[in-house]
Amino acid sequence: MSNNKKKKLTPTQQEYQQFANNREVVKRPLLKNCIKAFLVGGIICVIGQLISTFYMYFFKFTEQNVGNPTVATLIFITMLLTGFGVYDRLAQFAGAGSAVPVTGFGNAVISAAIEHRTEGFVLGVGGNIFKLAGPVIVFGVFSAFIVALIKTILIQWGGL
């Protein structure tokens, strides 16, 4: 914080700043967290690969379209695990390893629904279920639109 801003702080705030600066900062075990995330994220991906191979082997899905049922299955499994409280424990252990794959999306939807259940089905569950997942969808659709636009321009005018 710059000195100029510091002067404007109230005495209580200054006291807090002093306290925060002197507080013993616990160093995060960065490497350990990365390894945990890598392992758990990798295991989730292996499960996803197994599911997609299963769908290809036993149903009429090709490599092109096997992603759709695989993602749906993974999200369904995560929803069950979130409801039973297993996924939360996994997320505490793995961090980003469990949040970055598509399972993290399912977890974000269901945990919001569970959290706001007491507020009613319309304003509670309905209003909050996409609290975190909504922006993911919006940014996803928007960036896909931008990429498609760039591709179209390159193909139409760049002769790619």
């Binding site: 191979t53 290809m56 082997y57 009429k60 899905f61 090709t62 490599e63 092109q64 379209n65 096997v66």
Partner: protein, 156 residues
Amino acid sequence: MNKFKIPVIISLAFSFFVLAGCNTEEDKRIVSDDLDNNITKISKTSQVDQSLSNDAKEFVLNKDNVTGVRGVNTATRLFIAVEIAQLEQFNEQDIGKEIKKELQKKYSNKKVEVSSDQKLFFELDELEKQVQNNNIKREKLTKKFDELEKLLNDEA
């Protein structure tokens, strides 16, 4: 807890082995053990002569970036599925197209289809076994080819 776990594990393992025993088709093909050159050949006893597809498979497998190949032919058509080396899989569709062009040139009197899709690899593997064991009639093979072509062009 342990008392409960052991019978469950045993019954699961047992059912797995029983289900694994329910294999659909006996494999009488000539199979290579080399993982980098995964090729199977159909012997001449089959109803529809497969010397063309055997020939094509050998030609395709000679390429550096191809690690496995399966294929079946009828009198007018040839269907080949390729497995591309791990790091080359980024351009597997381009490699497939290139192979298709070469094969079409080589066998200009046949309609050639080449796919790098794993699903087609599984399907052709199963079809090869059926052809080898003479379990499939000519008309059914043609029908199966139509089905595979539909699968190949399915974009949904």
